[in-house]
């Protein structure tokens, strides 16, 4: 498992380790050392210090926020680390599945995913149909992708980088290295939900999960009713699982 631990502390360290002398002296501000003392009236120094203090305070909450809430990249790294450690453990299969399912529930925003796949068809669903859809869609994804972890064979995941997107989203790029040396590009799109980053789409080799299901649902809803789509998802869920 290749891990790239992001260094969270060093980024803010320099800000906090700055010593603040009050009132400021020539020692504090190196540029002032060459100036003759009489040219510098204390009002100017105070102003300078006030400006410095303002910036310090202004950026303080941002740093504190960043330190407490992991970024999108850290979130993906955590999910990868947690999942791999579960897969490598000696737990029985059903326990592995339920643990991974719990991680998925806390890190994926299945409601947003579900809404995005229905898109403009969302309003055609009644409130109870919407709730029904989100529930069945979550089960459907769990069945379709949860069982894939059973075939885990020491694949490794490397978090490569991140990219800013519209709506304040962030895409985190990763590579899955299969045993045969095959590399698969997997991108995770994350959106903040109550100050936490959560995954709203997974793109494998350019194929987006949201886009893929949106097209399929659109095809069914073009001529069919919401009930027809719900029935098809329920049928799929009821099928025997490997």
């Amino acid at each position: 498992m290749m891990t790239r631990n992001s260094n969270k502390e060093p980024r803010i360290h320099s800000t906090f380790s700055m010593r603040i002398d009050f009132p400021p002296t020539e020692n504090t501000i190196p540029a002032l050392q060459k100036c003759p003392r009489n040219e510098m009236d204390s009002g100017f120094l105070k102003l300078l210090f006030a400006a410095g203090l303002f910036f310090f305070v202004a950026f303080l909450p941002v740093h504190v926020f960043a330190a407490n809430n992991p970024g999108a990249r850290e979130t993906v790294q955590t999910i990868v680390d947690e999942t791999v450690s579960i897969l490598k453990s000696k737990l029985p299969l059903h326990e592995k599945r339920s643990k991974i399912s719990a991680i998925a529930d806390s890190r994926f925003d299945f409601d947003t995913m579900g809404r995005l796949t229905l898109a403009k068809n969302w309003s055609r669903f009644s409130t109870s149909e919407q709730a029904d859809f989100l529930r069945s869609f979550r089960t459907f994804l769990g069945d379709a992708y949860g069982t894939k972890f059973d075939q885990y064979q020491d694949e490794t995941v490397q978090v490569l980088g991140e990219r800013s997107e519209t709506r304040g989203d962030i895409t985190v790029q990763t590579t899955l290295l299969r045993n045969g040396g095959e590399k698969i590009a997997i991108d995770y799109r994350l959106r903040t939900h109550e100050a936490n980053w959560r995954i709203i789409d997974v793109t494998i080799e350019g194929v987006s999960l949201v886009s893929s299901y949106r097209s399929q649902f659109q095809e069914i809803l073009e001529n069919g009713t919401p009930q027809e789509l719900l029935r098809q998802i329920r049928d799929k869920n009821a099928q025997e699982k490997p």
């Binding site: 894939k148 045993n179 590399k183 698969i184 893929s212």
Partner: protein
């Protein structure tokens, strides 16, 4: 067949047009850069609304292909998968991909990617000799990562539109541009002139079955996790092609005939 898009060749290319001395190459690269950046500028990524005017015909051909795949190719390929150890399958795949490298080098050249073209030629040289006819990939260990390009990608970089979605008998998902490019690529590949048509056809069939032996489980789970397998393949193939054309550098851009609908905008339906 549908498994073709599963043939994964991660080609993340960083394009550095500033460092190139040739004017034509620079111009082509600039063109590409503009293409990529304009795609970036228009992203919000939109939902691909793929033009599929002859959907009933395509669906019929898809059913035909899928039948042959499920009851013909897949059982044979699974037999091979059962007999052959995994390293043998991987080495064979490497070897077949090595044969396609000169064609890829030419396409890199046609797209103005001089550096990648050189890398592909070097890969071919190293893997054909030290890599024992391409069975192994020592070039990757020397830092020569593959930059696989085909003529469809070249045409896309030249600004040729893809046209409507087509399902070809036996060959699978395509488009008019892609079909034309397949013909050109088969001329660019080295073996028919060198080895003769019959051997070339044999090599290609072996390559095809070996590929399925490596991907049939993925194809099966893709089939199981879709509600409309035809739509899934159409959508996935198109998205995958677009990503390859953009070298994975930008979010998969929609094809030309798409209305601007942001895939990730849920403000309308909270």
């Amino acid at each position: 067949m549908s498994n073709l898009f599963y043939r994964v060749s991660a080609t993340l290319t960083l394009h550095s047009w500033q460092s190139t001395p040739f004017r034509v190459e620079r111009f082509l690269s600039l063109l590409l850069l503009l293409l990529v950046t304009s795609a970036c500028a228009t992203a919000p990524r939109t939902a691909p609304q793929i033009s599929d005017p002859i959907a009933p015909v395509n669906r019929a051909l898809f059913a035909f292909n899928d039948g042959i795949y499920r009851y013909g190719f897949e059982p044979v390929a699974r037999g091979w998968d059962w007999i052959a150890p995994a390293p043998v399958q991987t080495s064979l795949q490497n070897s077949f991909q090595n044969l396609a490298t000169p064609g890829s080098a030419i396409n890199n050249l046609l797209q103005g990617k001089l550096k990648n073209s050189g890398t592909e030629i070097a890969r071919f040289g190293v893997n054909t000799t030290i890599g024992v006819a391409g069975l192994f990939d020592p070039a990757a260990r020397f830092g020569l990562a593959p930059h696989s390009e085909d003529f469809d990608q070249t045409l896309a970089v030249w600004g040729v539109g893809t046209g409507p979605y087509l399902m070809l008998p036996l060959l699978g998902p395509s488009s008019p541009r892609h079909t034309f490019a397949l013909c050109i690529d088969s001329f660019l590949s080295i073996w028919p002139p060198v080895a003769g048509t019959r051997i070339a056809a044999g090599v290609r069939s072996a390559d095809f079955l070996n590929d399925i032996s490596l991907s049939w489980e993925d194809v099966r789970s893709a089939r199981e996790s879709s509600l409309d397998y035809y739509v899934f393949v159409r959508d996935a193939w198109t998205q995958n092609r677009n990503t390859k054309i953009l070298d994975g550098a930008a979010p998969a851009a929609p094809s030309g005939d798409v209305k601007g609908e942001d895939l990730y905008d849920d403000s309308q339906f909270q």
